[in-house]
Symmetry: C2
Subunit: 330 residues, 2 copies
């Protein structure tokens, strides 16, 4: 973090984001690097959100930008079944991004970190022509085998999702087309926009699925089709999804009808940050119960099969294309 | 990493950057997160380089961009005295950044990682209006107390630098003003440009200084004055530097003379990525010997004092201002 005129700003950022040493954290924000004592095994990921690609400053309140940046990284940890640990944040600051906006972004980061049980242990602030945040996140487990990867699904395993899909894509439609959604209940419309702007990582559900015997897991960031492909390829299986079984977020079906689109297209749209997993049939009841005990829901939507490839089946023998439209631009 | 048309590119990137599991690394690039078994203690940092701020695409070969991104993060680990471990890279890709340029950036990352003994364990590639790389780096030690922080310098400690300073600032002058440097030996001019474009993190020297008893350490990224201030503030001491004792990179004095600038201004210019440290006098010979055994040099350039603040003394009682000009823009 740079030169003297910025000292006051850096201090204000530290006030919002810093944590006292404690638990695994021995030295937090303020040195060249944070010092931790991990123990067991760690899962580490890096993710970024960029203005114009993953959000638009004109649509997204600054708190939501901070929340989304952290959520995107923590969702990867959720998909490993990791216990959340530490986050490291880079903020690229355009010249027109003022102090208040920066601190509001930090408030969003801090709130999301608190909710997730994550410590912001380090960061960097530099100039940048475009507002961007990168978050590296570290999660923990007692041993490497406690994490759940993408490989491990076997033919016959149930394929399941947490929560409901389509909300983030519907929220993006509402943000991009303000005249849409006039027939929607305003509370529902707000909920959909929030799914796009400030998603919640499914950390508790991820840990429950790891403990409950999920054989493979991935978070739904790229879209149901693309993420099924990632899981199928890593596990060397195929995946058949019955789209009619996919739970849709409230308001998605109504908005799709208003826009003249198939509601299931929105469910493959990406950025819902729910978890997709494979679960051996013998563990399905236990896994479902574990997710419910963690405050979530788990729905069986398909099956892993021997035939490679991913099929997103609709009623009547049709299938959806697997490539969702996950971002404002690619 | 995103949708199907990019699969081939992602595979080519993995070929360049990926490492097989081994040692601490249990799962590398390709899952939601990398899995490691750290043992002991970790030091973790995040740093970024952005086109127009830390480099310019028109000046910097793509390999150098990859090298600089990794060096900036690893330099923080060097300043902790950490054993290098894993790096996680985000690449923000503008639409006009082609496949070959991306792979050349990865070649630079891979070469710098190999030289440093670092494994690239994860990454992310997304669209971005501007070319930017963020690197999170994790280093290791047997225990948290083995790392050297910024706090710990005591009045009376010698203040030392590794290597020589001013090369990065001189290299930036050459890149920004192609008519400068005509009187310089071309090999020297190339060396100066390389100090700016593709610095080397001082990992071996940092480990030697941690083992040799350095009481506080920081890397020289912001500039000698600003980084002395960081170390002084964290250690609650003052720092007096005798600029005449600061070793200058070959060619710096000649270029400063040609440009009509004080050569020591270039030495406070930042981005040299050498290490600044405080060493108790009783350990100075051992620390110096340790750095030399690691292939580097250590020079005493000043002293930690009771009076707060940083003074960069020139001959004749004058002082340099402490705020270096560290980047193309702030």
């Amino acid at each position: 973090m740079r030169s003297s005129p910025e000292f006051e700003l850096i201090a204000a950022i530290r006030d919002r984001l810093g944590s006292p040493a404690g638990g695994r954290l021995r030295v937090g924000i303020g040195d060249d690097a944070a010092v931790t004592v991990p123990g067991g095994a760690t899962a580490t990921t890096i993710d970024a959100v960029v203005d114009g690609v993953h959000f638009r400053r004109r649509d997204a309140p600054p708190e939501a930008i901070g929340r989304k940046a952290l959520a995107a990284a923590l969702s990867d940890l959720a998909a490993m079944g990791a216990e959340p640990g530490e986050a490291y944040v880079w903020l690229g600051r355009p010249e027109d991004l003022g102090r208040d906006e920066i601190l509001a972004i930090c408030d969003g980061l801090a709130a999301a970190a608190r909710e997730a049980g994550v410590v912001v242990a380090g960061g960097d602030l530099t100039g940048s022509p475009v507002l961007a945040l990168t978050v590296a996140a570290v999660g923990h487990a007692d041993a490497p085998g406690s994490f759940v990867g993408r490989a491990g699904a076997q033919a016959g395993d149930a394929v399941c999702v947490t929560g409901a899909l389509g909300g983030a894509a519907a929220g993006l439609m509402l943000l991009e087309n303000p005249r849409l959604g006039e027939g929607l209940d305003p509370g529902l419309a707000d909920g959909l926009r929030r799914r796009q702007l400030a998603p919640s990582p499914r950390l508790a559900a991820g840990r429950a699925l790891a403990a409950g015997g999920a054989s493979a897991m991935i978070d739904l960031s790229d879209g149901l089709g693309a993420d099924c492909e990632h899981l199928a390829a890593a596990s060397r299986v195929g995946v058949e999804i019955e789209m009619e079984r996919v739970p849709l977020s409230p308001g998605v079906a109504e908005l799709a009808a208003e826009a003249g689109r198939d509601r299931f297209e929105l469910a493959v749209g990406g950025e819902d940050y729910e978890l997709l997993c494979a679960v051996p049939r013998s563990r399905l009841a236990a896994a479902t119960g574990g997710v419910e005990a963690a405050g979530g829901t788990l729905t069986e939507i398909g099956v892993a099969v021997d035939v490679p490839g991913v099929r997103l089946r609709l009623r009547g023998g049709r299938s959806l294309p697997v490539d969702g439209h996950d971002h404002l631009r690619r």
